[in-house]
């Protein structure tokens, strides 16, 4: 096996992991605060991608600038979904939550299909052109930029959760919703913001990925499943877990593509998922069950 190939795969996987991390962090935040599994996560990301595409094609905005708008747009969508739908079934059995979000996923995915058609779309980024050579390995500037911005956003989220009052309320509500209410936290607002922020993460992730990979409305499903993989491997509700898990899964998939074949790379992450589900369902960073 050519070491250059391996090295290339490692680097490529690592950089792409930034997006996976951002995606997973959004999902784990929603679960951690609200105990809701967002089955529509991947489809929200696809909408982030298409928003970036529209900005690029209609308004000439580079996705590496426009991602802020995508994040905001998805934030609003998340708020609407949470207030309008999720809030109503917050106390319902988990199966109902799963089915509700599945319904949302179906609507989002096929609305995109109807709006944009089934053919793959791509976004051009005038800002991020060219490649950088590190010895025998090369890196697309676009991938580097995507990684960097994804890291910046993740860091910003971390600061928000640890330094701001609202962020701390969210973490408190995640730990103990009843207790948080007792001390006067507006739990409804916290939930809405959590869902919105989670959606914003994935909207930004979508925008950042749009210049790198072609995408289509049906991509949403695969992205959702990948998000769940990462979050379970890292530990549901654990932000460090989602972060590390994203990089881990991306590198694993990349190695899968190198050693097996590009279309079999999903087997690696599924294999990892099943192993974790059976051996340590709490994930790498979650609390182990007694």
């Amino acid at each position: 096996m050519d070491p250059t190939l391996i090295g290339q795969g490692l680097l490529s996987g690592f950089l792409f992991g930034g997006v996976y991390s951002l995606m997973a962090v959004g999902l784990t935040l929603i679960f951690g605060v609200m105990r809701v599994v967002n089955f529509a996560h991947g489809d929200m990301m696809v909408w982030g991608m298409y928003l970036a595409w529209m900005l690029s094609v209609r308004a000439g905005v580079d996705p590496y600038m426009g991602f802020i708008v995508c994040a905001l747009g998805l934030f609003l969508l998340g708020l609407v979904i949470q207030r309008g739908l999720v809030e109503r079934i917050i106390d319902a059995p988990h199966e109902m939550q799963i089915l509700l979000m599945l319904g949302v996923a179906l609507v989002l995915e096929n609305a995109a299909l109807v709006a944009f058609g089934p053919d793959p779309a791509r976004v051009r980024s005038p800002l991020a052109q060219g490649t950088i050579w590190l010895g025998p390995i090369f890196v697309d500037v676009a991938r580097l930029l995507t990684f960097a911005l994804a890291m910046v956003l993740t860091a910003a989220l971390w600061l928000f959760l640890t330094r701001t009052d609202l962020g701390r309320s969210m973490r408190a509500a995640a730990d103990n919703p009843y207790g948080a209410q007792v001390i006067g936290t507006d739990v409804r607002k916290v939930y809405a913001v959590a869902f919105g922020v989670g959606a914003a993460c994935v909207g930004a992730a979508g925008a950042l990925v749009s210049p790198i990979l072609p995408f289509q409305p049906t991509s949403g499903l695969g992205l959702s499943v990948t998000s769940f993989n990462i979050v379970i491997i890292g530990g549901m509700g654990s932000l460090p877990g989602a972060f590390v898990g994203g990089i881990l899964v991306s590198v694993a998939e990349s190695m899968g593509a190198v050693f097996l074949s590009p279309s079999m790379k999903e087997l690696v992450s599924f294999g990892l998922l099943i192993a974790i589900l059976l051996l340590r369902p709490a994930g790498l960073f979650g609390k182990a069950a007694t």
Binding site: G103, V104, A105, V114, P118, G271, L277, L278
Partner: protein
């Protein structure tokens, strides 16, 4: 109530002789998806173990029968049972891993999805089973090869499948197995404390459900004459299987049937009227909206709501 059911069955039996071929085809899909939904109902509705990967069993059943027919000359009438057994084997593996390791709710759903996706990726990449092109079945019209010239034969097979599965679920509901399933769905730990071997009961439900679904796979393969990995192992098919019992009423005998009679025509209408204007996939938006509506307003499904309505009118 029983007279109504009998009349309905008689009506369905006579239907193909009075309507055109297009409607017969629509009915075939209604019956077939009702059958798959009913098979799912055993483990997903009654036992309450949500599986979003049941397409895997359709795929395994279909591929087995198709491959045995094409490579070994084995009649699909026999291959069907082997396909069912193989599907049941996979079901047993998934069930054992899930239940033994205490995976519930979301974790179990994800496990089922993972297995279905693994099957899909494998089928897509292994050329020996057709690879990305899938499998095609040459048309011979030979009944011994589960092929019929007349659409109406498929109609009756699908009808028999649907009625047989429904009868089985009706029987289960009225006996010990069904009582255990319903109790487990409501509180598994309490069942354990009361002496119910919940692992064994859930395994039985899973194996039965996957066996029946696997048999359906043979019908799928020999009615559509082709097996595409993405279509037959993919999540869209799992969604089609799951949504009918859920909308109609999971854990009820009539739920999957009602759900199929509501959703299949809806899908067909939106496909016919909206497919042209570039509105492909519109019927899935309808599915999504219905799913949301059912969860918010009719969490037990359409059938129990219908019963309540009827009882209120009678009172």
């Amino acid at each position: 109530m029983k007279i109504l059911a009998l009349l309905a069955v008689i009506g369905l039996v006579g239907l193909p002789w009075v309507v055109g071929s297009y409607l017969v085809t629509v009915m075939i899909f209604i019956f077939f998806y009702a059958y798959l939904g009913q098979a799912w109902n055993i483990v997903g509705g009654y036992a309450g173990q949500l599986s979003a990967g049941h397409a895997a069993f359709v795929g395994i059943g279909g591929y087995t029968a198709a491959l045995l027919s094409a490579r070994a000359g084995l009649s699909p009438w026999l291959g069907m049972w082997i396909g069912g057994v193989l599907a049941a084997l996979l079901g047993a593996v998934i069930g054992y891993l899930g239940f033994r390791f205490g995976l519930r709710g979301f974790y179990f759903v994800l496990l089922t999805v993972a297995f279905a996706e693994i099957c899909r990726v494998v089928a897509l990449n292994v050329d020996a089973v057709g690879g990305a092109l899938g499998l095609y079945i040459t048309f011979t019209g030979n009944p011994r090869q589960f092929q019929f010239q007349d659409n109406r034969v498929y109609y009756y097979i699908a009808l028999v499948l649907m009625l047989a599965a429904t009868a089985l679920v009706w029987f289960i509901e009225r006996h010990r197995f069904g009582a255990y399933l319903t109790a487990i769905r409501q509180d598994e730990s309490a069942c354990e404390a009361l002496g119910v071997d919940t692992l064994r009961v859930k395994m039985l439900a899973m194996v039965l459900s996957s066996f029946l679904t696997g048999i359906g796979g043979t019908f799928y393969a020999f009615y559509l004459f082709s097996l595409q990995p993405n279509a037959v192992f993919g999540i869209p098919l799992s969604v089609e299987i799951v949504i009918r019992p859920i909308v109609g009423g999971a854990g009820t005998v009539m739920g999957p049937l009602l759900g199929s009679f509501i959703l299949s025509p809806l899908a067909e209408i939106s496909r016919t009227y909206f497919a042209q204007g570039g509105w492909t996939g519109f019927h899935l938006i309808v599915y999504g909206v219905l799913l949301i509506a059912v969860v918010l307003f009719l969490p037990q499904g359409a059938y129990p709501a219908l019963l309540r309505l009827v009882r209120r009118r009678a009172a």
